[in-house]
Symmetry: C2
Subunit: 134 residues, 2 copies
Amino acid sequence: MTGETYSIGELAKATGAKVETIRYYERIGLLPAPARTDGNYRSYTPAQLGRLSFIRRARDLGFSIGQVRALLGLSDQRDRSCEAVDAIAREHLDEVDRRIADLQALRRELGSVIDQCGCGTIAECRIIEALSPG
Amino acid sequence: MTGETYSIGELAKATGAKVETIRYYERIGLLPAPARTDGNYRSYTPAQLGRLSFIRRARDLGFSIGQVRALLGLSDQRDRSCEAVDAIAREHLDEVDRRIADLQALRRELGSVIDQCGCGTIAECRIIEALSPG
DNA sequence: TATGGACCCTGTAGCCGCTACAGGGTCAAG
DNA sequence: CTTGACCCTGTAGCGGCTACAGGGTCCATA
């Protein structure tokens, strides 16, 4: 057993999460409440550092807090099939694909509006015109 | 002069905005407060319908509320050069491009994580592994 | 004239995922 | 013994709505 512990600041540095974010994760029950020192400081174990790293990576991959919660739950049941994990990941992938498609459609529309601008006065501005009704 | 007026519900139907959203826009000063009927109902003019349509189209194109506010302000100064309009639109386009690029990078990473999954048990799941530290 | 239902009103709280205070306590170095 | 970096709790704010609760108004029908 390593007796190593970390303060919240050290945990933040190690994982790249902000101190406030770590406390937020604790508040919403994503990260279990750690032990406290005599001075009431949070004191984290290496296992908790690992858990936060997991959370960070999942968040960086765009998983929602709810999905992260589910993934964390699954990651503890080592004997189960990882189908559920796969399902969550694929669902998220689909969502990302949808968002990309939406943004690309938006980009096309926006681009074509901008291309029309001859940059004269507002009165003849095609961008304003494109937005205006009638 | 048309004496035509609209209730908030009619305005909502005509523009596709929700009633609550219209009230919200009024609250934040995006849409000016309309006249009221004897029964204290909001009563909108065609010009106000036009303004809301403008807002909706700009929002649909992904402009932020702040940008919409700026565009609305500019659209009233008909003699000014439309450079400022163009600048706002291009800035937004750049932002959209950045978001697309970010999502595409994310998509690649997520895709490669998912591809590794052999769908056995959680213990050997590559997705969980990819998220786990160490 | 009464009643029902569709509409409208205000005000407030919730969503997500943090972020930013304010107003204090703790701890180690000099 | 003071300074300054860190930590604590609690609350409010961001954007852009959305969703109530608890009422008022208006119009058609019985």
